[in-house]
């Protein structure tokens, strides 16, 4: 599904370190690279605390400057955004790159009517009169499926339902037809039925307007429904990259496999136990000491915990369009391509 068009966003070797005086700095994100082309949807998947959200904030330049060290490059249209001055970033945010947050209620200003918040973005980035902006806001709310938009404009966030709030937030993010949309767990706070509607809405947007979409989620159902390519993150690093189909059919990283088998399935036998991953993300060890996932991994062997050539477990090509960071990946006998690549991984 990879597009031939030049990528809108190229993230290369992105690392984020939180430094605190008198304390050891924490690497929240380490060596993350990926790219998104117009009309493409990629997924960043992982448990809470694996660095997905920090990655998205780093791309948008929304991390605080003090106490945070961002290295690597985030190229939007070929221009590096890491360390770009504030006014450059501000001009891009909202206009060329939009973001949708997890909690629609707290992401909307409770004291300001929806309409004002939508028109604000339009007035900020487009040459428009207030009346024009209002009309455009009505059109936008209508587009994201909010019924009776001209009345909703006057309402306050607490008067809308959760789904409507998220639609309003999406409308704000889309106001200036951005070429990149980052959605940080946009459906986590919503009901299942509403989730489906919001995902459908996002999919339509990608198809209709060729927006590049970065979907940040821990929900593999969302990934299955929406994403073309998937990057699985663990402890700040990408540990597996694959097309959606390949990933679901033949997960190679034991962590990915674990994620997939932790999801309840409608078609599994009744009473069949779920197999959760042992422990929690807090059990991760520093990558410098081996594979961060090793303490929780069923496939782990001695060499997972020893440094090889003084560096961490590398991310290596693993068959066509796949990358893998693992010394003892899951084997899938039906997949000959995987078998050859696993030799390379070792």
């Amino acid at each position: 599904m990879s597009s031939l068009q030049a990528p809108v966003l190229e993230v290369e070797d992105l690392a984020v370190r939180f430094t605190r005086r008198g304390e050891q700095s924490t690497r929240a994100v380490d060596g993350v690279s990926f790219s998104v082309a117009p009309g493409e949807t990629i997924g960043l998947v992982g448990e809470s605390g694996c660095g997905k959200s920090v990655t998205s904030l780093a791309i948008m330049g929304l991390l605080p400057r003090r106490g945070v060290e961002v290295t690597g490059s985030v190229r939007f249209d070929g221009n590096d955004l890491v360390g770009a001055p504030d006014h450059v970033l501000r001009g891009l945010r909202g206009a060329d790159m939009g973001m949708v947050f997890q909690d629609p209620l707290s992401s909307l200003n409770p004291t300001v009517p929806i309409g004002t918040q939508v028109t604000e973005v339009l007035l900020e980035h487009r040459e428009m009169s207030k009346a024009e902006a209002r009309d455009e806001a009505v059109r936008l709310l209508d587009r994201v499926g909010i019924p009776d938009p001209s009345r909703r404009l006057k309402e306050y966030p607490h008067q809308l339902s959760g789904g409507m709030r998220q639609r309003a937030l999406i409308a704000m993010a889309l106001a200036c037809a951005p070429r990149l949309l980052i959605a940080d767990e946009p459906t986590t706070a919503l009901d299942v039925t509403i989730q489906a509607q919001i995902l459908e809405l996002l999919r339509e947007l990608v198809v209709d307007s060729g927006t590049a979409l970065v979907m940040i989620t821990h929900d593999l159902g969302v990934v299955a429904g929406l994403c073309d390519r998937v990057h699985v993150m663990y402890a700040g690093k990408i540990i597996e990259t694959a097309d959606r189909r390949d990933l679901f059919a033949r997960p190679r990283q034991p962590y990915t496999g674990g994620l997939l088998s932790s999801v309840p399935r409608l078609d599994s036998a009744r009473g069949a136990p779920l197999t959760p991953i042992r422990g929690s993300a807090r059990d991760a060890i520093p990558w410098s000491e081996g594979c961060a996932f090793a303490p929780r991994c069923d496939n782990a062997q001695d060499d997972c915990l020893t440094e090889v050539s003084g560096s961490t477990v590398p991310l290596v090509p693993d068959g066509p369009g796949r990358e893998l960071r693992c010394r003892h990946p899951l084997e899938h006998p039906s997949a000959p391509s995987g078998a050859t690549a696993s030799g390379a991984a070792r």
Binding site: R90, P113, V121, E124, Q159, L169
Partner: protein, 313 residues
């Protein structure tokens, strides 16, 4: 059976009609408006509001309500060392040591108390909020400088500060107001700054940044309106403190020197020489101060609860 059926149907219809209207009736109902809606149903808040309103009306219509002139001396023939005439025909609460009608003086006194309370609080609010916005909006070294300045003011005990200021400015009604305002400034400044700092990290502020909204707009359009409710509450509570402080300063002889304007604190100070002869001279103005302060406090406390989302069901 049919009656019951009808009843049920009517109720369902009524509910359906309400459900249909509710968003309509609710449309455009901001947080402040819904807070006031809640206040209207709160007996404590109503009590506070009624007290405040009564005093406001009394102050506004003092010339009509007062039975006598507050500065004219009456019954002088009956005032002797050791006796001050009590309640009698035409003087419901009696007269003070100089023969002035106590009730009329109390009524006129409400003007001074409320005026000083309101003006000094507004003055303190304006200056305090300006400093708070300055610190909260810019942060960094501006914040440090402003807040250290505020801390210095705050470290001086309030009454001592007020006394110093009113001594420096000379004795007048205006200097009394300024003195009380100076004490309020650091409270408002700290409060607004703290509240703004908390709001600046909120999700909607980050979301607005993610939409490329200008910093000034985020601060004044998003952060500030959401930071105001503790300040509004504090202002209501400060009215009570300001009235008490005005009385305290007058009591210490730093009040308004114009004897044509009776003031509760000054009346209280004056009455202490005659406590053993006629305690009522002290009791009544004290009661007025307490009740009006209570009114503002009740209103302020309930306003805090109404505006605070944590108290909302």
């Amino acid at each position: 059976m049919t009656a019951l059926g009808n009843y049920k149907r009517e109720r369902i219809d009524a509910l359906a009609a309400r459900a249909g209207q509710l968003p309509e009736g609710d449309a455009g109902l901001s947080l402040t408006r819904s807070a006031f809606r809640r206040l209207r149903r709160d007996p404590v808040a109503i009590t506070g509001a009624v007290i405040v309103l009564v005093f406001l009306l009394v102050a506004a219509f003092a010339p009509l309500l007062a039975p006598k002139d507050p500065v004219t001396q009456y019954l002088l023939s009956e005032i002797r060392p050791g006796t001050i005439p009590g309640s009698q025909e035409g003087f419901p609460l009696g007269v003070d040591n100089l023969g002035r009608d106590l009730l009329s003086r109390l009524i006129y006194g409400s003007r001074q108390s409320l005026l000083i309370g309101v003006v000094s609080t507004v003055l303190g609010l304006v200056v305090g909020m300006s400093l708070g916005v300055l610190a909260g909006a810019f942060g960094g070294w501006v914040d440090t400088v402003v807040m250290r300045f505020v801390d210095i003011i705050l470290s001086i005990p309030g009454l001592l500060m007020a006394i110093t200021v009113s001594v420096l400015l000379g004795q007048s009604q205006l200097s009394l107001m300024i003195a009380i305002a100076v004490v309020q400034v650091p409270i408002f400044a700290r409060l607004l700054r703290g509240s703004m700092l908390a709001q600046r990290g909120s999700d909607y502020a980050v979301a607005a940044r993610a939409l490329g909204v200008r910093k000034g707009r985020i601060v004044f359009g998003h952060v500030l309106p959401n930071s105001l409710s503790p300040v509004i509450v504090q202002a209501t509570l400060s009215l009570a403190t300001a009235i008490i402080e005005a009385a305290a300063l007058s009591y210490l002889g730093l009040g308004d020197p114009d004897i044509a304007r009776p003031e509760w604190g000054a009346m209280l100070a004056n009455a202490q020489d005659f406590l053993s002869i006629r305690p009522a001279l002290a009791v009544w103005p004290a009661l007025c101060i307490i009740v009006v302060a209570l009114g503002f406090t009740l209103l302020g406390e309930r306003l805090r609860e109404a505006l605070d989302p944590k108290f909302r069901r």
